[in-house]
């Protein structure tokens, strides 16, 4: 399969390296507005074609898969163009700035396979937590709480993530989308949301968001998102689910259950079988890219296609409305 990558920041470079190494795949085209980056990559690999114009790249190359790893405000137009050409797409998270943009993308799906980059769906701790909850090992779900914390911002920062036009918002859309996707994945869809946001350091976007969520099942819970939280050199997405017979707590590195009788069972990620062909920058990224390739080969939908991947954006839309008017809002999925 021929693969093209648009956007050569950290995630674009990572996906390029992974796809280039997967059996039967080869990165044949790269696109970025930064010509220096293109020169560096071209000088190390003369076979690859490089572009500063993504439309030209998509016109001139018959790509099987296109990876879109640009700032969020560009996802809509790029994904739509690629899908109209019948190319399969991997869109980095969040899928788009708003549900409306997601809807435009979905409307152009054209039978192509798609994957939105909610990589934690490919981490064994979360998948084992999902199995545990779904088979009601601890009984029925009563409530949940979650956080996504990262010590990313300690002063006013530059970058598209801090520009509301380019990023669609701040910590909530950039980091909270991961947590909302995981809540969907493990606990199901949401009925309504209340949200408060705070600007602590950043000028134009929120640094902190606190959400109260009601699931369609009637279960309630909360989510705290912050990129100014100290003590989190690496991001931590923790979900704690309280059930009839105990509590399950899961993050990237561990899965812990505490039964009502006090029995604690904690397993670390190292203990879960998680075979992948190679690890470049994170096992979950290889698993994610491999999943898309296999889905294309098998003509099957991925576990987070653009319809599923739009769900966190729908919640975020309602959350931002709530943050503005102080009222809870229904979640309207596409």
């Amino acid at each position: 399969m021929d693969v093209g990558v648009i956007g050569l920041g950290k995630m674009g470079l990572l996906h390029a390296a992974i796809f280039n190494r997967l059996d039967g795949c080869h990165v044949t085209a790269l696109c970025d507005i930064n010509e220096l980056m293109l020169k560096i990559l071209r000088s190390g690999n003369e076979d690859v074609r490089t572009y500063t114009d993504y439309k030209l790249m998509l016109d001139e190359n018959d790509l099987d898969i296109v990876v879109i790893a640009t700032p969020v405000f560009l996802h809509g137009s790029m994904a739509t163009t690629a899908l109209k050409k019948g190319m399969h797409v991997l869109i980095e998270k969040p899928m788009a700035k708003t549900s409306e943009e997601c809807s435009n993308i979905i409307g152009n799906a054209n039978g192509s396979k798609s994957l939105v980059g909610y990589c934690r769906r490919f981490m064994p701790t979360y998948n084992n937590a999902k199995k545990l909850i779904e088979c009601e090992e601890l009984g029925k779900v009563l409530s949940f709480r979650s956080h996504f914390y990262l010590s990313q911002v300690d002063k006013r920062m530059e970058g598209w993530q801090f520009d509301p036009y380019k990023g669609g918002g701040g910590a909530l859309i950039d980091l909270g989308c991961h947590a909302l996707d995981m809540i969907h994945y493990i606990l199901g869809p949401m009925r309504s949301v209340s949200c408060r946001t705070e600007r602590v350091i950043s000028e134009s976007v929120e640094d902190i968001a606190r959400l109260e969520l009601t699931l369609c099942s009637g279960v309630t819970g909360n989510l705290a998102v912050s990129w100014v939280e100290s003590g989190y050199r690496l991001p931590e997405m923790m979900l704690e689910v309280t059930c009839e017979k105990g509590v399950a707590r899961v993050a990237e590195k561990y899965l812990e259950t505490v039964s009502n009788d006090g029995t604690v069972n904690k397993r670390f990620k190292q203990c879960f079988p998680d075979p992948i062909p190679f690890n470049i920058g994170g096992r979950e990224y290889t698993a994610e890219d491999l999943h898309l390739v296999q889905s294309v080969r098998d003509a099957k939908d991925t576990k987070c296609d653009i319809k599923v991947g739009s769900m966190p954006t729908s919640v975020i839309d309602s959350a931002y409305l709530s943050a503005r008017d102080g009222q809870p809002h229904k979640v309207r999925y596409l």
């Binding site: 390296a17 000088s43 970058g159 670390f268 190292q270 190679f278």
Partner: protein, 283 residues
């Protein structure tokens, strides 16, 4: 067997939880606190340790030189990836390059600039990027650096892009400049060996080796086969699976592979270091 003291615990990296990472980060915020562990490890018999190009480790090396109580040799791992990824994300590649330039030794900066001009003229832009690795390492060469190891994020990333030749060029340049052997950290030993099949000479390769097979990609069995077949020097890392494997179990496994002569232990607990040392050396 040579036991090497790892460095993750000193810069707040834990594979078990972010909470534990923060605890270690707070505990080792001063060079003195790191020195205490190093001195205890030295008393046990450890003679070398990993240091990464991290501001805290540079402060530690400066302090170590002043106190001069033990005679450790250092394996320099480059670069501190998190710092540069953040810089690239917020400032772009040019901004990240400026950060690297600001932190470099002036003599190396001049040499790097001259070399980069030649690389640009010859369109070898990838080699310009590897000059960045040398600049990042330059402040550390004042200390007892006996080996340099290129971080797995760089090694495996360049291998993914099919740029093994760029890695070898970077190795040759750094060895030429600093007269110190340069090796590679990789999480993908079979892939690495396949790409370096044509390389002549014995390489130092640091890679995860543990009884769980954690991060031994693509499988524990395949990595074991590679270890048995290769003539390169394999340095075992992640031997405790980030703290989830008992020391005795890990040592028994590593000794069973026969070929491993060097192991890294990322521990700040003298009892664990002693246990590992004594088990590895047959006491």
């Amino acid at each position: 067997m040579n036991l090497i003291l790892g460095h993750n615990q000193f810069i707040g990296i834990s594979h078990l939880s972010e909470e534990r990472s923060e605890q270690m980060n707070a505990r080792f915020s001063s060079p003195q606190s790191i020195m205490e562990v190093v001195e205890e490890a030295y008393d046990i018999g450890v003679r070398s340790m990993i240091v990464e190009t991290h501001p805290r480790m540079l402060d530690f090396l400066k302090y170590y030189s002043k106190v001069d109580t033990v005679d450790m040799s250092f394996i320099l791992q480059i670069p501190n990836v998190q710092e540069y990824i953040r810089a690239m994300n917020s400032k772009g590649i040019e901004g990240m390059a400026m950060d690297i330039i600001r932190g470099s030794r002036p003599a190396m900066l001049i040499k790097g600039a001259v070399r980069s001009v030649k690389d640009v003229v010859q369109n070898n832009y990838a080699y310009v990027a590897t000059t960045g690795l040398e600049l990042i390492a330059s402040p550390y060469y004042n200390y007892d650096i006996t080996h340099v190891m290129v971080h797995n994020v760089i090694t495996d990333f360049l291998l993914g892009l099919g740029m093994a030749d760029v890695l070898m060029a970077a190795k040759a340049r750094m060895e030429d400049d600093y007269d110190v052997p340069v090796g590679f950290v990789t999480l993908n030993l079979p892939m690495f060996l396949e790409d370096f099949e044509e390389h002549r000479g014995r390489l130092n390769i640091m890679t995860p080796v543990n009884p769980l097979g954690y991060d031994m990609n693509d499988s524990r069995e395949e990595v074991e086969d590679c270890i048995r077949a290769t003539d390169h020097r394999i340095i075992a890392m992640n031997i405790l699976g980030g703290g989830s494997i008992p020391i005795a179990q890990s040592v028994e496994y590593i000794k069973g592979l026969d070929k491993i002569q060097d192991c890294i232990i990322g521990s700040s607990n003298p009892e664990h270091i002693r246990e590992a040392y004594e088990l590895l050396n047959g006491e």
